[in-house]
Symmetry: C2
Subunit: 406 residues, 2 copies
């Protein structure tokens, strides 16, 4: 194996995805089940929304010019012409000297240009008193004002939100083309690991990482994960497990595979699996430095650190962006959840991305210092901040971006 | 039906949940599938993590006092005593005058109190030169330092995050008790509605809301949703549909049920379904005002507005907090995603919560003004801000909380 220099996080991610062929497989799924999936075709409106100009309030349809000067002290009387029904065809002619009751959503007949809200009117027998002047277009939404035929509703590569799904549904579409889910195998490794339910002794620990990583990855609806059995330190067993499942998965995460005890086994297994093999071994980040990124015949094989916190940081901030790219997502990097003000100085080494667990309260950010083996520094925190590469530290009072804990 | 005054959003939510019996049904599910679910029992550590004091780096175990004064220019020689294996039982005695190689995660033998990282040492034959002094406890995580037996890992009523699941897994637990999912029936109503696939004409629109609401609610893993057939304006059909499915669901959302055309039908159906019936009819918010909150024999029945934006705002900011309470969640109100600075003045009426769609870029927040019928004001936005009740408006340059679009 060729030993590679450690790289900056961005260089590692960009270098890796250059070698990776992004996924192109897609599937047609029901629109109602598509939230959180990545759309694989631009969604274009094929007709105007609304398809007809309509009222957005309950009130009386009128000619705006004729309400000029109307007010609570100066009601203007109009003859009541009748009622326009919701969802009914319009009659041929309406008399624009009269006003007509119109419910929210009903179509605007020709010759009228505003709706007075019912609250600003009074009905006495067959006369409607209008007590507020309205401007042209008031309380009307015009044909195509929401979406015009040809408008892009959402772009290929975007994760569908409920509001995008609403806009697509407005076009009468009931299924949508999305990229297939990325299938991820999580393989816990380490001879000190015990499976839940097994007895434990002073030399062993229960497997934390595969539960945590599966849960983290399952937050993304376009990933599909499965946890495999624990591999102690048996090279043939690890190789055999991956080979047996090679065709069923796109990604193999060897949890603990970059830790001291497993590193050599992981690298030999990757070599056997195919070329180009290991692309990045070691990233300038803390925690998460001993991360292995490899590619074997376009199967993605990651060696994740054994420490729970390192593992979480490495998977979330290195592997997920790569997997986003592979999954067909356009924006591969997670956007910060927000910005806040630091309550304390944070020392940081120049030349690496430092991930600090924090507690965010309102606008204030308090760092939690803890050893990278400590899962409690994560579970007690509600945010993460990054002292990036070129920074020597972050200072009390400084505003910084933060990420939530998921 | 008794007509009720409109209420403030908080009063409506608090008034409603006072009448509601919170869910107590729980189920035991595999821990690995529990992310996003609400835990129904406090999770307490039953033993210390780590269970033994161990090294958090690869290096040499030593007695800290004996490294005093060591530096790159002043290496201190020690006799190499051998290697401590990961996951192996410790030998009975180690000689504390010597140093021993220790990998990350391996146990610390008695008589030693620090680990020198391998980078700060040099091995020449059987001699290890230590080139950095270490303090007591350096690079060691002590028994129970991460979690102590009796520590609370997570509290009843919290939504499980991947990091909580990791902490629970450290205790060798493989299943967890969570509140059962809340089953929500979404019933689209309105005689102007067409189902996707049907032909459309100038007097009708495709059903947007049930797709959008299902997708919004599906973001919460503790909800389970189903969309029913469109009910035009037939009271008996709506009543029959709910009655037939009464025992299978906890919640019925009558989408469009508070809109003008359906309001009377919805209220009569709610009366027939049982007491106490309608609790709140109308909330001081914009959009979303014509929201109906009712309770029929502890079945939750909501009448949601017909406008897509009103519907989204009403469900997310009124119904979801109520459903969170019913689902067993402790923090029922959504926390803002972050804070940003307004790029423009926003007028707002005193006495109601005004929900404004915005575009957030970095720290800057730009409002999108649009009519409440327009679903595109939601799909083009990436955030929502609230001009609360007592505010007359928000001002350019002001810092305000924002919520993401989901």
């Amino acid at each position: 194996m060729e030993f590679l220099k450690t790289q900056s996080r961005n260089a590692a991610i960009e270098g890796y995805i250059k070698k990776l062929v992004s996924r192109i497989d897609f599937e047609e799924i029901p629109l109602k089940n598509s939230v959180g999936r990545i759309v694989s075709l631009d969604q274009i409106a094929s007709f105007d929304i609304p398809g007809f100009s309509r009222s957005i309030v309950d009130g009386y349809i009128c000619v705006s010019g004729m309400t000029s000067g109307a007010g609570p002290g100066n009601p203007i009387p109009f003859t009541y012409g009748g009622e326009i029904q919701m969802g009914e065809s319009l009659k041929d002619t309406y008399d624009s000297d009269k006003v007509y009751y119109i419910p929210t959503g009903a179509p605007i007949p020709k010759g009228f240009d505003a709706v007075v809200m019912i609250e600003n009117t009074e009905k006495v027998n067959n006369t409607i008193y209008i007590e507020k002047s309205v401007f042209k277009g008031e309380n009307i939404i015009y044909k195509g004002e929401d979406l015009k035929a040809g408008d892009k509703i959402t772009e290929k590569g975007r994760v569908l939100r409920s509001v995008d799904i609403g806009a697509i549904a407005s076009q009468g579409i009931e299924s949508v083309s999305v990229y297939k889910k990325v299938k991820i195998a999580i393989i816990p490794t380490g001879k000190e690991l015990k499976r839940a339910g097994e007895d434990i002794d002073a030399k062993s620990v229960y497997d934390v990482n595969s539960f945590m990583l599966k849960s983290l990855l399952d937050k993304f609806k376009y990933f599909e994960t499965e946890i495999f059995r624990i591999i102690k330190d048996d090279e043939d067993e690890l190789y055999g497990l991956i080979k047996d499942n090679y065709d069923k998965f796109d990604v193999f995460v060897i949890s603990g595979g970059s830790s001291k005890g497993m590193r050599d086994i992981t690298t030999r297994v990757i070599e056997k699996l195919g070329s180009p093999g290991i692309l990045i071994h070691g990233i300038d980040m803390s925690p998460g430095k001993p991360t292995i990124l490899s590619l074997c015949n376009n199967k993605i094989v990651f060696g994740a650190p054994g420490h729970p916190v390192s593992s979480y940081i490495s998977v979330r901030f290195v592997m997920v962006p790569i997997l986003n790219y592979f999954a067909g997502k356009t924006d591969i990097f997670e956007k910060p959840a927000g910005r806040g003000k630091l309550k304390a100085d944070i020392p940081s080494k120049h030349g690496l991305d430092d991930f600090i667990r924090v507690i965010i309260e309102g606008e204030e950010i308090e760092p939690i210092f803890g050893k990278s083996g400590m899962v409690s520094t994560l579970s007690k925190s509600n945010g993460i901040i990054i002292a990036e590469n070129e920074k020597e530290g972050l200072y009390k009072g400084e505003y910084v971006d933060y990420y939530g804990i998921i």
